[in-house]
């Protein structure tokens, strides 16, 4: 049974980290969230009876935890701005300026945050957590057809928002 748990952690650790990091955009915070999510879910699960269910559940929990952390950060940022502090939250704490598409990514994250909740969730689980449509359907408790609709509409909307953002900047 312990082997199952070790195998699940080993298989998912990078995906959980990748998902949380791309939401909170802070490596250390993403590592902390990853750790907390594994410990919480695996303690609650007790025994891993069904790998097909536990893995989507862990990834969905990580998504929720990262989103909550992100909202907390945004609230702190708003407070800081109110009292006139200059904080660069909202951008990665370890800026990925070395990446060729850093600016595009930054705009994409902002556009992603404006999407409808379900579209944002489906896209994050599909692209950030690299979950299959079947896994996402299980995690979101909706049909695979609905997942595909959310992904489809989310991508179209994201493209539109990015295009609108570019036009504004020009």
């Amino acid at each position: 049974m312990r082997e199952n748990m070790v195998a699940v952690i080993h298989r998912l650790s990078n995906r959980v980290f990748g998902l949380t990091y791309r939401i909170v955009r802070d490596r250390e915070q993403a590592k902390d969230i990853t750790q907390d999510v594994f410990v919480k879910v695996l303690q609650e699960a007790g025994r891993i009876r069904d790998r097909d269910r536990i893995e989507p559940y862990i990834l969905k929990s990580a998504y929720n935890a990262a989103l909550n952390a992100r909202h907390d950060t945004s609230r702190q940022q708003a407070k800081a701005e109110l009292i006139g502090e200059h904080l660069s939250l909202g951008e990665p704490s370890r800026p990925d300026q070395h990446l060729e598409n850093a600016e595009t990514r930054s705009r994409l994250y902002r556009a992603l945050e404006q999407l409808a909740v379900r579209q944002k969730e489906a896209l994050a689980l599909r692209f950030f957590a690299e979950m299959s449509v079947t896994e996402i359907a299980r995690a979101m408790k909706i049909s695979e057809g609905s997942v595909k609709t959310h992904i489809s509409r989310g991508m179209h909307n994201l493209k539109e928002r990015l295009a609108a953002g570019s036009a504004k900047e020009i």
């Binding site: 650790s13 025994r47 994409l108 950030f128 449509v133 991508m155 994201l158 493209k159 295009a163």
Partner: protein, 160 residues
């Protein structure tokens, strides 16, 4: 399917979530429709930015450390059935028993085994010599092909 329907499912083509038939139909349509091809290019760019980069993954060292931390916490906070947890007293007794067993086996098996040229077995005489060296030596168990043996090492090297 009509052009609008193909247009709608373009993101699923990019994400690789279409069935074989859907994909074949869309590819046929793309060869005939410039509007859908242009949209596909834009969506591919969005998917490229959404895809993981090197920065989004853990290094091997980070991954190992993170996984160890998770397992350690699961054991320490031990509320799960999956990771067996011993009480500290039981754990101590087991450790003492194992250490004692290693010493006993080492001393009883050693005389039956061939002597290594570089590392001599410790005898009463050498132990007396060791006493004369004061604290300038260390002693411990070594496991080799010949089995466990007690060894001692002084400042000038191995003491015979």
């Amino acid at each position: 399917m009509r052009c609008e329907q193909y247009f709608e499912i373009l993101p699923l083509y990019v994400s690789g979530d279409l069935t074989g038939n859907e994909r074949a139909g869309l590819e046929q349509h793309l060869s005939e429709c410039a509007r859908c091809r242009a949209e596909l290019d834009k969506l591919s760019e969005v998917a490229r930015v959404l895809a993981p980069s090197d920065d989004d993954t853990l290094s091997e060292v980070e991954k190992l450390r993170l996984e160890n931390d998770i397992l350690r916490r699961l054991v320490c906070e031990g509320k799960t059935e999956s990771v067996p947890r011993r009480s500290s007293v039981t754990s101590l007794i087991v450790r003492i028993a194992v250490a004692a067993a290693i010493f006993i086996v080492g001393f009883s098996v050693r005389p039956l085994l061939p002597v290594n040229n570089q590392t001599q077995p410790v005898t009463r005489a050498t132990l007396t010599d060791l006493a004369e060296h004061g604290s300038d030596f260390t002693a411990g168990m070594r496991f080799s092909k010949q089995g466990f043996r007690l060894i001692a090492r002084g400042k000038s090297g191995l003491i015979n």
